[in-house]
Amino acid sequence: MSAAFVHAFQGEWLKRRRSLASWLVIAGSCFTPLIVIVARLVRPDGLARRYAADGFWLQLWRNSWESMAIFFLPMVAILAASLLAQVEFRNHAWKQVHALPLAPATIYFSKFAVLLLMMLQFFLLFDLAIYLSAIVPWLLVRGVPYPQDPVPWAYALREDLFYFVDCLPIVAAQFALSVRYGNFLVPVGVGFLAWVGALGALPWKYAYAIPYTYCMLNYLKDDASRKAAVPPEDFHAYAIAWFVVFTVVGYILFSRNRQKG
């Protein structure tokens, strides 16, 4: 890793401060757990029994990830990529970025690395918010016991890793589109259509070939109702393959753009 990349990355990381993309990461990661907290505080009936039951944490984990894996995670990836690129478009700053003594690869990958780090930040905040969604009702509602089960950290981290890998194709494709098109609607529209298509294709036996399905497949892999055609083979490898393809294609499109800024 060159010094130029490290310094460019530091600059890009500064740019995301107080940006809409950074607020989106915080809001998106806390939304579902916040709903869980509010629902439990508003309707505390049966909470004590639920907290005392076996498998409390795993149940909470699956409940929290349901909306996240199917909807919020793809949407956050789509919007975060677009908002990050919009920081340059909206401020007419691409011309300044391209006039810096940096190679196109340094410019592209330093910004992309910031997006990836923001997604990691999103997972970390989401895990913390899930934990708080269990703790806050325990602290505030009288008679609710602390869950007996130990927190399954190893399981959570493994699943986090899978979800992270599975969202990478969306992140790479959306980033490639977002830095290419100044009109915010293009990447967001394409991303939304791809997400709807992926959702519709879940029962199809080749759904695993569609790059926007992997987060959903990871959630539904243990689903007894078999809403999705989860392939027997390791679909995470497909996610990595798509990620590489979208990253390479995205960089080629970026570097060959004749008009910069």
Binding site: A4, H7, L14, R18, H92, K95, A99, P101
Partner: protein
């Protein structure tokens, strides 16, 4: 990592006579419309190079090509004696630029905006306060750039261009959005940078009077070709024959009657007497005559073209 670039811009500067040269530069828009047609610029090292031309003449396209923001279709660009195409990153290290509207991250403060660039240029952190002070934005504190006036954004854009003490400064319409006081300050700042640091400055502007006050050298561009390039004085010398003589007196009507014999075409225009151009000896004789007849002369001067007239003449001559 963590290293700072502390090289002296004087050392970095090319020893070449020209800091920036273009040769046979051509460019067409994607629809085939030609923008530049064999442009050959020669920006002397240490000069303030005014880049003038009507809208659509190709000024911004040229500056974008020079910064590598557009891909050169034909011709070469040499900066600090090095070909831009082969040495882009090395060359850009010593260039500061402000193209069209300032690139300002509106969700960040002025200091944060510069901190982004400070990382990339690896210049010492105190340099941020230095340039903020230089452009008069030191006291903006936590105010976000989105709340700045256009003039303040323009100053921040200039500060960003100056941050790494570049040897070549390329400014496209730098006084846009500045109030008259700001324009004077900007002019003084650029003149000081040029004088004290030897920074070569290329400044494009549609404010001809502004360029006239600032530039040492000038390029007039029309339809993608240069119609004049050289020192400002050369332009004045070659293009400014005396057009008329203007005399203002205590009593213009009486004065007109006195000088009618010497200059029958004299007439009163805009509160003064206007005479056709004449040799210096004749002007002196006229003055003596008026004074001898008891007419006080308040003003006596040859009327020559200002830069705007010269500019228009050159452009119109090229158009016909």
């Amino acid at each position: 990592m963590g290293t700072t670039r502390s090289e002296n811009p004087h050392e970095a500067r090319s020893k070449s006579m020209y800091c920036l040269e273009t040769c046979d530069l051509h460019h067409r828009y994607p629809n085939g419309t030609p923008v530049l047609d064999g442009l050959a610029l020669q920006v002397p090292t240490g000069s303030i190079y005014g880049f003038l031309g009507p809208n659509g003449a190709g000024k911004t396209t040229t500056l974008r090509l020079v910064l590598g923001l557009l891909e050169a279709q034909r011709g070469t660009i040499t900066i600090f004696g090095k070909r831009l195409a082969a040495n882009r990153i090395e060359v850009l290290r010593d260039i500061g630029s402000l193209i069209e509207s300032p690139s300002v991250y509106e969700h960040l403060t002025a200091r944060e905006n510069l901190a982004v660039l400070q990382r990339v240029h690896r210049c010492p952190p105190p340099r941020i306060d230095e340039v903020l002070n230089l452009v008069g934005l030191r006291d903006t504190g936590s105010k976000r750039a989105g709340a700045f006036s256009l003039g303040m954004k323009q100053r921040l854009g200039i500060a960003a261009a100056l941050l790494h003490a570049p040897a070549l400064l390329i400014l496209d319409e730098p006084t846009n959005g500045l109030d008259p006081g700001g324009i004077v300050e900007m002019r003084e700042l650029l003149a000081r940078l040029n004088r004290e640091r030897g920074t070569t400055i290329v400044v494009s502007s549609h404010l001809l009077a502004e360029v006239e006050r600032l530039a040492t050298h000038l390029c007039i561009l029309h339809r993608g070709r240069t119609v004049f390039q050289g020192p400002l004085e050369d332009l004045r010398r070659t293009q400014q024959p005396m057009r008329s003589v203007r005399i203002a007196t205590r009593d213009d009507a009486a004065a007109l009657a006195i000088i009618a014999a010497m200059a029958p075409d004299a007439r009163i225009v805009d509160g003064a007497i206007s005479l056709p151009a004449m040799p210096a000896e004749d002007i002196a004789r006229l003055n003596r005559l008026l004074v001898e007849r008891g007419i006080d002369v308040h003003e006596l001067r040859p009327v020559v073209d200002d830069l705007e007239s010269i500019f228009m003449d050159l452009v119109e001559a090229r158009a016909t």
